[in-house]
Symmetry: C2
DNA sequence: AATCTATGCTTACGTCGTAAGTTTGTCAAG
DNA sequence: CTTGACAAACTTACGACGTAAGCATAGATT
């Protein structure tokens, strides 16, 4: 018995260096986010997550209720990453900064967009986010009803756009060329003339997907800001109009 | 032998009435859509789908490559359900009708919103949809670049809003009251004053979730149309402005 | 020293998608 | 009428999944 113990301890000593840190809920959630970032949400299984933490799958259940709780947890972590601008000079720039922050964070965790949407209304982070928007707009002269509608419109656009973006079939110049080369034969020019025109347009205009990526910017910021400003200007008119 | 045949035919006659129809790709996809509508996308498994069709799971593979192909197939079916308005008097009503049609179809198949987003750019239905929007806008005096941005903004909003909507925690008056009663204690009034104000607002304004449902309308059409009209008006200005 | 509690591990069950191989029902050619 | 081929169904089996149930151990409390 004593011998067996000794041997167990011995062979565990160096490989368990990582796993000697005591494995808290925070460590579990952190590893889950990292794994989803690296390998995608589908690759996030209890067994693989345990493995990454140097632990068996079932041990995770001492720190989180079940996998669903992990998903809730990482959703709230990501939402909590979205910074709420504190010192914006006016409501428009406040909204713009918040939207940009959300856009950035969501693109850093592409799996999170769909996941957040599928678990609406759970976490406290989202509540704060929500309260701040309504409060800021009300402080800028929006009625409660208008602020409510404004929130829905802005948030629908932000999440909808980003969801489109992370699932867009190409993110680099090379991918775009390959996808277009594969797809064009299936799309007869005469049936879809506008798509063809647009392809050329896209090739010409967004010539630099790679450059944007190299600059650490989303390749589709321009399109994002177009829609966002359209909405913000519309909201301003709605406030001043009626 | 003759006897055996007779018996087989005999006992199969009524229970196999459904499964005697020869099980085509169309029947598989139709059943898949029905099952997703009834029990949710997670409940759609090859085994259950086979069962529903009176067949073993593996038999489905004679008609579809794999489950992924089924998902692609049902996505294209749903997208194909969205009617493209043919005789609209002007571009705005054309876009409004198209948006309303999409909204309706997506709400009839709530699971489809996230699924469509996760499989962008595959089906031919979506291509037609896309081509029509760009073409209509160009015909109404929009530049190609503006039409492209307009499409992204509108589609982001439509899908983003509907995705919010199908995951919204309450769809009926009773659900709303229960969810609010459960959630309010966790949201201290003084930390989230605007949420509280909004709750009262929502309770007062959207008093009739049930009524809308009874009338066969989405309870959130008003909010949807608010955002959509905001965007359409903004697009009109963008076209006329520059 | 005895006991409790927290935290890890092992085993096992039912479900999933699907690869591989086998049976069966239909129909054309000999 | 037999035969042989082909399509479409079925059977079996594998590895991965989430997790219920129970066991082991080590540190803290009594």
């Amino acid at each position: 018995m004593a011998k067996a113990n000794e041997k167990t301890k011995g062979e565990a000593k160096e490989s368990a260096a990582k796993s000697r840190e005591p494995l808290t809920r925070e460590r579990v959630l952190g590893a889950a986010v990292a794994m989803a970032d690296e390998e995608g949400l589908d690759a996030l299984s209890m067994r693989k997550l345990g493995q990454k933490l140097g632990v068996e799958a079932m041990s995770l259940y001492n720190h989180v209720k079940n996998k669903d709780a992990i998903l809730d947890g990482i959703v709230d972590m990501v939402v909590g990453e979205i910074e709420i601008p504190a010192d914006a000079p006016d409501w428009k720039t406040a909204m713009r900064r918040r939207a940009a922050a959300a856009h950035d964070v969501l693109l850093r965790h592409p799996w999170s967009v769909a996941l957040i949407e599928s678990r609406m209304g759970l976490g406290p982070s989202r509540m704060g986010y929500f309260d701040w928007v309504i409060g800021t707009l009300r402080g800028a002269g929006f009625s409660l009803d208008l602020a409510y509608n404004a929130f829905l419109t802005m948030d629908s656009f932000i999440y909808g756009f980003t969801l489109h973006e992370v699932n867009w079939p190409f993110q680099t110049d090379e991918e775009r060329d390959r996808v277009l080369a594969e797809t064009m034969p299936n799309i007869p020019m005469e049936d879809y003339p506008n798509i063809h025109a647009l392809m050329e347009h896209a090739t010409a205009v967004s010539a630099g997907l790679d450059e944007a990526a190299a600059a650490g910017v989303s390749p589709y910021v321009a399109e994002f800001e177009f829609g966002l400003d359209l909405i913000l200007d519309g909201l301003e008119r709605a406030r001043d109009g009626a």
